[in-house]
């Protein structure tokens, strides 16, 4: 998911940075005092999860957890992901500072989209809720993989080819994340329903 430095064209980098800045501004505005610990913890979870690679396929895969972040944070997922990516770029040269904006958009935009897409489903009781949580985790990765392909169009690589490769490579991640999102959602609903209260009341 992390695009390296020097791959993307300046136009894409600029657009990514602008979008990420706008998203972060909205996220910070929507994030109230009480939400901060939650955002911090999920940011830390993202930070750790994206560092762990399982050698599957040509590149090695890692969890992203952006579906879960969208589900639990909404717009606040953008500053959370930005913070974690910034630290990864700084500490591990993972991604890079110039691609920070683009990488943030690739991972945070699906989180926000999924938040709005599955909110109606997650508000309904019963099986619909579970389906919503599963789909939320699944779709977020799918969208991220497609966004990687979109970002790489500018480098002259054929969109369909890259998209196919990215989506195929991430199929295992999609299912794993869907299950993780589902379980954490159900667990929170049982143990800490008040956490989901303000988003899905």
């Amino acid at each position: 998911m992390h695009i390296s430095e020097g791959v993307l064209s300046p136009a894409v980098l600029g657009a990514g940075a602008a979008l990420a800045a706008a998203g972060t501004a909205i996220g910070l505005k929507k994030m109230d005092y009480d939400a901060i610990p939650r955002v911090a913890i999920l940011s830390a979870a993202f930070f750790v999860a994206t560092l762990i690679h399982v050698p599957v396929g040509p590149v090695g895969l890692h969890l992203v957890l952006n579906g879960l972040m969208g589900l639990l944070l909404g717009w606040a997922a953008v500053p959370a992901i930005l913070t974690a990516l910034f630290l990864q770029a700084l500490l591990f040269q993972f991604g890079g500072l110039t691609v920070l904006g683009a990488n943030t958009v690739i991972m945070a935009l699906p989180a926000v989209v999924c938040f709005y897409l599955f909110r109606p489903l997650l508000r309904r009781p019963g099986i619909a809720q579970s389906v919503g949580a599963f789909a939320c985790g699944f779709t977020a990765i799918l969208l991220s993989a497609l966004l990687v392909a979109v970002a790489l169009i500018s480098t002259g690589q054929a969109f369909l080819q890259v998209a196919e490769l990215a989506v195929l490579a991430h199929i295992p991640v999609m299912f794993i994340e869907a299950v993780i999102t589902l379980f954490i959602f159900l667990f929170l609903k049982k143990v800490r329903p008040e956490m989901l209260e303000d988003l899905y009341a």
Partner: protein, 264 residues
Amino acid sequence: MRKQTSPTIAGDSFLHRPLSAAGARLRMRDDEEILFDSGRRHPWKICYPWLIPILLCLCFLTPASPALAHRVLVFAYAEGDTIHTESKFVGSGAVQQGQVQILDQKTGKVFLTGTTDDQGKFSFKIPPEAAAQRLDLLVVVEASMGHRGEWQMKAESYLPTAETAAGAAPIAPGSAAAVAPAPEASTTPTPPVPPEIRAPAVDRQMLEDAMNKALERQLAPIKEMLTELTIHRTSLTDIIGGIGYIMGIFGLLAYFQSRKKKDS
């Protein structure tokens, strides 16, 4: 009638099933409100104990698993007139079918391109142009999905140094740069060289050639080790440090927001 008049009496609700459901719902709402209120009053008490074991598990898994697989590591070395490159994803193996570009580091001019094999290797002859002008080369490898690595190759590291070239010993026989200056260099200091004295020079050249080969062979594992050492592997300390940074950043944010709250 009692159904409508006493919905709040939970005690006898087991007599009337529809009532018990209503009672339960009422009680649940009370519970939620209390929990929600207490959460509002002590925001820092909302810690998420379920996440702590998950985070810890992830932390302790990390050092064992190959982290940073997404960084492409490129390594290049010269052997005679050929430059060998090796590219791999840190931790998870070779970059197969990666696009290799050899550039001039200053101008960004592309000398040649190629594709890595299944071991992530790609070899090429030193471009004569680069050798003649003693240009620093940049090896860029692009793997799939936006992964990219670079390796800088200084002119000194793939061309024989000026002194050895002047010493009438073209080390790499095929190298254009080494061949070109050598005759001048050898002729200028000692113009009238009798053929008998030239003979040991040839011997010396052969000796140096052999020594170079032997050295290259011997140094190969050391080069390998050096590349391994240049990789910064993620350690537990890094990760815990990162988590600490995140908590600190959001702690600062919380601090400023709490001040704003007080001011208003």
